[in-house]
């Protein structure tokens, strides 16, 4: 957990805050009560919550900035955030960016994992997945897909699987904000929600010609 806190600090420190300030948000949420609102939010939690729970309400510079602009930052600010996020991407040790599509297929369907609290925390051993179907259409046979993100049906069929596409796909899952600041898509790699290896499996699920994403 320490390492995650450290990561937040690095991100915060590396932002050239002065240049962000030149693009003052027009209508930041909360208006003049924003500071108070932050305190009210923080005061809503039990004082005896474990520390590793409370880390989850901390914001890095990307989160904070996206909030200020209601997820729609001016291009200049967006570019800075994208640059910042690009620098966080890490790769598997063996350098292989496309793994086993069957593993990726499982991860894409799992929406559980990572729930904390007293009311309905995950039972021990609950698998943590990518929950891709919550937002994206993927394999045709799964009818229960969401539309928050674009359809990724035939993702590989449309794009081929050149090295460039493989890398782009890996990078996008690892840190979506490296390409589009304040996108709705989580930064799966940055938060260690998925391991680099798990990300390679999802890359394969998207790109492998044998994967149900590409083969109806």
């Amino acid at each position: 957990m320490k390492s995650k806190i450290a990561l937040f600090c690095v991100l915060t420190a590396s932002v050239p805050l002065s240049s962000l300030a030149q693009n003052k948000p027009v209508d930041p949420p909360g208006g003049r009560y924003a500071k108070e609102a932050e305190q009210i939010f923080r005061d809503s939690f039990r004082a005896d919550n474990p520390k590793y729970w409370m880390v989850r309400i901390e914001q890095d510079e990307t989160m904070r900035t996206c909030g200020l602009y209601r997820d729609n930052p001016p291009r200049k600010v967006g570019e800075q955030l994208e640059k910042l996020n690009r620098a966080t991407i890490r790769y598997p040790v063996d350098g292989k960016l496309s793994g086993d599509w069957k593993e990726g297929e499982k991860l894409a369907a799992v929406g559980t994992g990572g729930h904390i609290g007293f009311i309905q925390p995950d039972p021990p051993g609950r698998v943590r997945g990518g929950n891709c179907y919550a937002c994206h259409e993927l394999a045709k046979k799964e009818v229960a897909y969401g539309t928050i993100g674009p359809s990724l049906g035939h993702y590989g069929k449309q794009r081929g699987n050149s090295e460039e596409i493989v890398k782009y796909t890996y990078d996008k899952i690892y840190n979506s904000n490296a390409f589009t600041a304040c996108t709705n898509m989580p930064r799966f790699g940055l938060h260690s929600w998925l391991t680099p290896e798990q990300i390679t499996h999802i890359v394969a699920f998207l790109l492998d010609p044998e994967s149900p994403v590409n083969k109806d």
Binding site: G111, T112, H115, D122, R126, Y133, V143, A144
Partner: protein, 155 residues
């Protein structure tokens, strides 16, 4: 809407009295019924369930229908019904092939009650659902697949 709710409330207070009678053993719910068919409800497979219901190998019939939507937004509550145009239907049952115990419910239909019953069942996963009907002493069956979808945020 409000009127309806008030009616319910009234019937509720009437029920308190009946409840008292019931707990005093004066009237027994379901006293006109045979004992709960444990063997049939405990059976796991379709075949064992049909055997325990004394239905043997029912004939597939176009005159029997599993009613309700083909897709369930959640497996905990799946609206399912049985309807039939066959004559003298005295019993209907709902079976779910992939549930731990296939039999969900059986209904006894006295003369004058239509072969058209609806309820809501739990389904662990997408499965074939069967409607079993006893008409003129013979058993008939129909089936349809009901898809149980994953929903919401996930978990």
């Amino acid at each position: 809407m409000n009127n309806q709710r008030r009616t319910v409330l009234k019937s509720g207070s009437g029920a308190a009295l009946l409840g008292l009678l019931a707990s005093a053993g004066i009237i027994t719910p379901g006293m006109a019924l045979a004992d709960w068919n444990k063997a049939a409800f405990d059976a796991k497979s379709m075949a064992d369930t049909l055997k325990a219901l004394g239905a043997g190998t029912p004939t597939d019939s176009k005159d029997v229908q599993v009613t309700g939507p083909d897709i369930a937004e959640n497996g905990a509550v799946v609206p399912v019904g049985v309807s039939s145009t066959l004559p003298n239907v005295t019993m209907v049952a709902i079976l779910i092939e992939k549930n731990p115990n296939a039999l969900a419910a059986t209904f006894t239909l006295p003369e004058g009650t239509e072969a058209n019953v609806q309820t809501r069942v739990k389904m662990g996963q997408t499965s074939n659902v069967y409607a079993l009907v006893k008409s003129d002493g013979k058993f008939f069956m129909a089936t349809k697949e009901i898809k149980v979808t994953l929903g919401g945020c996930g978990g």
